[in-house]
Amino acid sequence: MPHARARTIRAVAVLAVVAAMGLVACGKSKKSTSASTGKTVYIGFVGAKTGDNANLGINIRDGIKVAIDEENAKKDGPTIALKEFDTAGDPAQATTVAPQFIQDTSIIGTVGPAFSGETKALIPLYQDAKLVFISPSATNVKLPTIVSPETVFHRVIADDALQASGIASYLSQTVKPKSVAFINDNSEYGKGLAVDVQRLSVDKGIKAATTQVIDPKAQDFSATVNAVKASGADTVFYGGYYAAAGLLRKQLVDAGVKGTFVSGDGSLDKGFVTAAGPAAAEGAKLTCPCNLAFSSSTGALKTFYDQFKKDIGKDPGLYSPEAYDAAKILIKGIKAGNTTRAALLDYVNNKVGSYAGISKTIKFESNGNIGSTQFFVFEVKGAEIAPSQTIVADKPAETTTTAGSGGSSGSSTTVTGSSGSTTTTVASTTTSKP
């Protein structure tokens, strides 16, 4: 009878949906690399293992693994094991996954969350649980002030105030554009970076030809490309991640907008070259307040490069050195006897001191930021990412973009070239906060 069958089908449908929701909530993979004997202490990885920009999360996870394997091989303390949590780089999914590691009291610290959007969403949960975390890659400026008081947030990468300042200096001193089109993907990170870069560039006298926003989930950016072309800009800055950055660059080049393309650390991945195609990707300038490990690196970075290549089987990527350092800091605290959440939180806040990491020297400020002033520019050459320039920037003065306080950053930058490029020292200008 049609009615009864319809009712049955409806009931089955409802049950199926409820079951599916339950599975999704409880069933996300939790892999742990455990060791043989002795006490095991767990740290977590929170970031994108799947999704459009998963490469960045996987780079971090691999960097952590190298650090853990190295430390476990020393056998001078408890065994460290990693539990992984996939957020797909999406703040909504991150919030769904969060209860799994917040409520798992065996996890006493995490490396990650990786992206700024998901970090912003998760900080309140971390703070409530007093669970310490060190992000290797979340660079949005406002993150330390999401909750107040805040003790759990730490990052081992300079924030986007530094990156924006560095990019603005790079544009005004090296690129010297006639006008720049500023495009962003409306994400927490991308929009924040592009808006700041635009503001600082305009302060330095660069003409902003147009400001555009794209939807990174779409493929078609023809409306934006047409607007950029009509604006006559000869340089494009994009704030966002590599998958959309590459497609945008390809469509710009195909439409005849062939000038310099600059983007931040979210685009600094091989995926950019794949998305743009090797021809269009050539010459793109990708920046980061972080350094990459190449086979041509020296010193500690080279050692890390070799170890990574041996353990994981491929080249280390963006944020791998930062993730390595973050994991090492946590493990150092664990081996010093801090094996509870409260103890580890206290260690990271007060007892790290000045840590000589492979990516940089790490000294946490009171709000969890680090005082690094190094800023790197990379270039796509021959379908590979190669170092281009190192810029040492002064950390900009406190900048706020809320209504009422009009402070603009005062920064002086020295541009130094690496491997053959010319060295220029620039007269510094400082503007003080009104």
């Binding site: 319809a6 459009d52 023809s222 409306a223 195609g277």
Partner: protein
């Protein structure tokens, strides 16, 4: 101007400045939407079913064309082809896309929809199945080929042929427009003039009477899905050539847009799908020129709502069954 703290910068002169390029690009993308929309509209006309899995049929077409290129030894970074080689490659790749999509659609009909049809299951069951197939296909491709974006090699050099009214008339845009219009014209002629097409229209008008008149309903339904699949596969190939990207969830957004286009033009109306696709492409681009790209979708869907308010059956209104011969 700000609206409740949200920025809207009206830029009418932007529309005037960019009218040529936005129109041409809108028509190009609209042509792809129209091809996909035809699949939605055909299936709805015959079965009164919104085939939500159609976006994944499109995605299969994108992947199939990519694999065809790889099978022919064409990789990313290879030089573009010219002349007869180019023609041959494009034809083969399009054929591969169409066949794979068509096959997927037919198999899907056979194993998922036909049992439901035979048991006279309620509408809800069809919808759930459609969503389930959509997710299954997406996840299959995601697990098998990864969730990263794959690059489609460039076989056609994207040269600007000429500039008219500011519009950049490029080789790949011309390809998309010509191919799409040819296919849509072919489908229109097939449905209006051929015997099988008459069967489709008869089934759309009244399935029981058509059966009494000797039309094999099962075959008509299979043919409907096949046609929709073939067109979606062609659209997928064109999309892959145009955007040079393939991803497991690449069908999601175009699928929604194409469905919107079908409704805008009149769901169940073939010419409506064509008009709807083109109009939607134009609206999106005009809307982004005036309001900014963030408002593109809001503008397009607002237009849809307005059209439906005053013309609930869509722009062209008539259904597949009642179309003039």
């Amino acid at each position: 101007m700000r609206f409740e703290g949200v920025p809207i910068d009206l830029c009418f002169h932007c529309l005037k400045d960019q009218f040529g390029p936005q129109t041409f690009d809108g028509l190009t993308l609209g042509a792809i939407y129209a091809l996909i929309a035809l699949g939605y509209t055909l299936v709805y006309g015959v079965l009164q079913l919104i085939n939500f899995a159609h976006s994944e049929i499109f995605m299969v077409g994108v992947f199939a064309s990519l694999f065809a290129m790889h099978a022919m030894g064409i990789e990313q970074g290879d030089p573009a082809k010219t002349g007869f080689v180019l023609l041959g490659v494009l034809l083969l790749v399009t054929l591969a896309g169409m066949l794979m999509s068509g096959a997927t659609a037919v198999v899907m009909e056979r194993i998922a929809y036909r049992p439901l049809r035979k048991r006279k299951a309620p509408r809800l069951a069809f919808l759930i199945t459609a969503i389930g197939i959509s997710l299954t296909l997406q996840e299959f491709f995601a697990i098998r080929y990864g969730r990263n974006q794959l690059g489609v090699p460039r076989v056609l050099e994207k040269k600007t042929l000429f500039v008219i009214g500011g519009a950049n008339v490029r080789t790949d845009k011309v390809l998309v427009l010509v191919a799409a219009f040819l296919l849509m014209f072919a489908l229109d002629r097939f449905v209006t003039s051929s015997r099988l097409g008459r069967g489709i229209r008869a089934t759309a008008q009244d399935a029981e009477t058509a059966q009494l008149m000797g039309v094999n309903i099962d075959r008509v339904v299979m043919l409907t899905f096949l046609l929709g699949g073939l067109l979606a596969g062609a659209a997928g190939t064109l999309y892959g050539v145009f955007f040079e990207a393939a991803r497991y969830n690449i069908g999601f957004l175009p699928g929604i847009k194409a469905f919107t286009a079908a409704v805008l033009g009149g769901i169940g109306n073939i010419r409506g799908a064509l008009i709807g696709g083109l109009v939607l492409g134009l609206l999106e681009n005009y809307g982004s020129a005036v309001l900014g790209v963030q408002w593109k979708d809001v503008f397009a869907f607002t237009m849809l709502v307005l059209v439906l308010l005053f013309r609930p059956t869509g722009l062209l209104g008539e259904s597949l069954g009642r179309a003039r011969a």
